[in-house]
Symmetry: C2
Subunit: 186 residues, 2 copies
C-alpha cells in the first residue's frame, strides 16, 4: 500500500496517471460538456447541468443534477434572484485561472497556502440595447488580480503567473470560439 | 395611474424608460460587474458576487452577496461539489441568449410562451494539460439549440433567431475580450 501524495488538494498519482493515459490514447482527452436552460421570464432562467462525456465514456458520477439560476438586478429589469449572465462569466474566469494555477503548480511541486482573485469587467449597455452598432454587447475589457500565498521564491511566482495560459475559460474569453445557434419552434 | 404593461416578464415602460435614459445620457450605459473568488483546494473555489456599477452609481439593491461554487468531477480530480468552470460558461451563454431573445422580443411586441435551450461544448484536454501546443485549452466549438413557444409567424421566428446578436455572452465567447491578469503575493 502506497501513501497518497496530495499537493494543493490534488492527488499527484491521479494527475500523473491522467497525463499518462491521455498521452497513451489521445481520444481519452475528448470531452463534451452540456447544459439545459429553462427560461422563466425576462432575464430569469434556470440551467440544469449533469451529464458529460470524457475519458472515453459518459460520466455517471453525478447522482443529481446541478441547478444554476440567472437573473438581472432591478436596474436591468430583473428581481435580483441570482447573479446575471456576465457575472457568471466573471465567476467562471476567476475560478478557472485559480484552479489552473493550483493544478499546474501541483505538477511542478509548488505548494500554495491560499489564493484570492478579484475580477472586474466593463460593459457598455449601448451594445445590448442595440442603440449603437459600434459598441459590442459584451465586456470591453476584463481585469483579474490574483494574490497567492505560499513559500515560493520570485522565480516560482513568475512561473505561477505564466500558468494561466493553460486556463480553458481564459482561452474561451480571450480568443474566438465558434458558436452555432439554431432557433426553432417548440 | 397607468396600467403596467408587461411582456415576456418585462415591464415595457421601464424598458423604454431605460432606452430613453441611455439615449439622453450615454454615460448611464457604463457598467462594471465584479466578483471575488476564494480558492479552497484543487479545482474547488467559491465566488462572491454582490456590488456593481451602472446607471451612474454603485448598485445598492442586493442586501446579501450571491455565493457561487465551482468544482471538478472525479475524472478531473475533483469531488463534484459544483459544476466546473466551462459548464458555467455554457450556463451563462444559454441563459444569455434566451434572456436576450426575451427582452428584444418584448421590445418588438412578440410574446413568448416558453423557451428551452440545450447547449454542448467540445473540449480537448490536451490543451489544459499542456500536452500539445496546437490544441487550445478552451472549447473548440459550441452548439446551441433554442426552442421557442408562442403565437408568432415564420417571419417573426426568423426575427427572434436574429436577436441573439445582441447577447453579451455570445459576443464574449465568439469574439476576443482583452483580459489583463496580474499575479502577486498575498
Amino acid at each position: 500500500m502506497q501513501a497518497t501524495s496530495t499537493l494543493n488538494g490534488i492527488d499527484l498519482d491521479q494527475l500523473s496517471g491522467t497525463i499518462e493515459a491521455v498521452s497513451g490514447d489521445p481520444t481519452l482527452a475528448r470531452f463534451q460538456f452540456r447544459a439545459r436552460n429553462h427560461w422563466i421570464d425576462g432575464g430569469f432562467s434556470r440551467s440544469t447541468i449533469k451529464d458529460f462525456y470524457g475519458v472515453g465514456q459518459e460520466d455517471a458520477t453525478r447522482a443529481q443534477a446541478f441547478s444554476v439560476e440567472s437573473d438581472e438586478p432591478p436596474v436591468l429589469l430583473g428581481e435580483n434572484r441570482a447573479p446575471n449572465t456576465v457575472e457568471y462569466v466573471l465567476h467562471a474566469l476567476a475560478a478557472c485561472v485559480s484552479g489552473t494555477i493550483a493544478y499546474h503548480a501541483a505538477a511542478r511541486g509548488i505548494a500554495l497556502d491560499g489564493m484570492e482573485t478579484t475580477i472586474q469587467g466593463d460593459l457598455d449597455l449601448h451594445g445590448f440595447l442595440g442603440l449603437d452598432g459600434e459598441v459590442r454587447p459584451g465586456f470591453e475589457q476584463i481585469r483579474v488580480g490574483i494574490k497567492v500565498a505560499g513559500d515560493f521564491n520570485d522565480s516560482q511566482l513568475a512561473e505561477l503567473a505564466s500558468l494561466t495560459r493553460f486556463s480553458p475559460v481564459r482561452d474561451i474569453v480571450t480568443n474566438p470560439v465558434p458558436v452555432a445557434i439554431e432557433v426553432g419552434r417548440a
